[in-house]
Subunit: 211 residues, 2 copies
């Protein structure tokens, strides 16, 4: 399974989301046509994506929603808890720590760090903000799976370097800065500008049409 293209892996969470929604609605079986329509993909692409992981559906019968959801969750490693640390607890970091979607999905925030002495020692929810100077010490205990970086952009790379030295292999980057990391470390960026820019194309066409 190590040869699965990264784009396919990046799409799997969308399957999880779609299938969860279908299960909540009581749908038990779904065709690759319907699954495709829900994710704006072709049935052929759905079948190809899933074929990397084995045989999930029977020709002409569609996929069992519950089974496919369970299997894809297992493949993605979502059948366990992952521990994350939030680094930088300004307004954004605090919003992240307060985000209600992480815990139900199996992501637990177990530590928070900040370089600002006024933040250190304060509480955010159940966590006590720790001094950034403690970061490497805490990482050395190997309890942090994921680093969530929400420091100002000009500190982002330095923090990423520390995190990488500490052995963390997954970074969720909330800064607009492009992080340089070794190839065995994954970075995903939360970039609202990229999301907005993929809509302006259509806004512009609408405006043109309307005169």
């Amino acid at each position: 399974m190590s040869t699965v293209p990264e784009v396919v892996i990046q799409r799997l969470p969308l399957y999880i989301r779609t299938l969860t929604r279908l299960q909540d609605r009581g749908v038990e079986v779904i065709s690759s046509q319907e699954l495709g329509a829900a994710q704006r993909m072709t049935p052929a692409q759905i079948r190809k994506d899933l074929s990397y992981f084995g045989r999930f559906g029977k020709q002409g019968r569609g996929y069992t929603v519950k089974y496919l959801l369970l299997e894809l969750s297992r493949i993605l490693g979502l059948d366990r808890q992952w521990n994350a640390a939030v680094i930088g607890v300004g307004r954004l970091g605090r919003a992240i720590l307060g985000y209600p979607g992480f815990a139900p999905a199996g992501f637990k925030m177990i530590a928070a760090f900040d370089a600002d002495p006024r933040q250190v020692g304060t509480r955010v929810g159940e966590l006590m903000v720790q001094d950034m100077a403690e970061l490497e010490n805490v990482l050395s205990k190997n309890e942090i799976d994921i680093a969530i970086v929400s420091v100002p952009a000009d500190h982002a790379q330095a923090v990423a370097d520390k995190v990488v030295r500490g052995g963390v292999k997954a970074i969720l980057n909330y800064t607009p800065f492009f992080l340089q990391v070794p190839s065995d470390v994954r970075v995903r960026s939360i970039d609202p500008v990229v999301a907005l820019q993929s809509m302006t194309y259509y806004l512009r066409q609408g405006k043109t049409k309307a005169g």
Copy 2:
């Protein structure tokens, strides 16, 4: 150009980001191989994506970074300012209003709304938080291009409905809720859980390897 697949449009902002980075580094010409490597795509896919919009490169010569950046920006409608309203100014909404990446990219936050009377009338940066009851009235002035929704998940659909009725065609959804909108309205979701779930696959493999 109305037949360009949405997945291609969704990739264009990544080109913008990559090309901006290259331009900042002083790179003047880039091959589809190099552009592909930077975006984890094949050169053939790069060429196919760009072919939807005309001829940007000469066979064997690569693309002129500055020209390609300018053209793609124009195609995406990034050569003008877009006005956005932030709806819901809790911790997350305030973090969004304070995000430094919007203004340089041409996105201007011109209004903020909240249903909580304790928030209404307070200032966030240069904006005065307005009462949610004023939303439809403000939208009717046609000055808002994009609605950024950062209300609690159980209010998300009701807010989206109001925004759609107000004629807004682009929604940036910060809630974990899947918004139902007419087909002429675009929604992009900022979902950190989806981003995390596309990394756990690799974390899990790493853990397995390490025993």
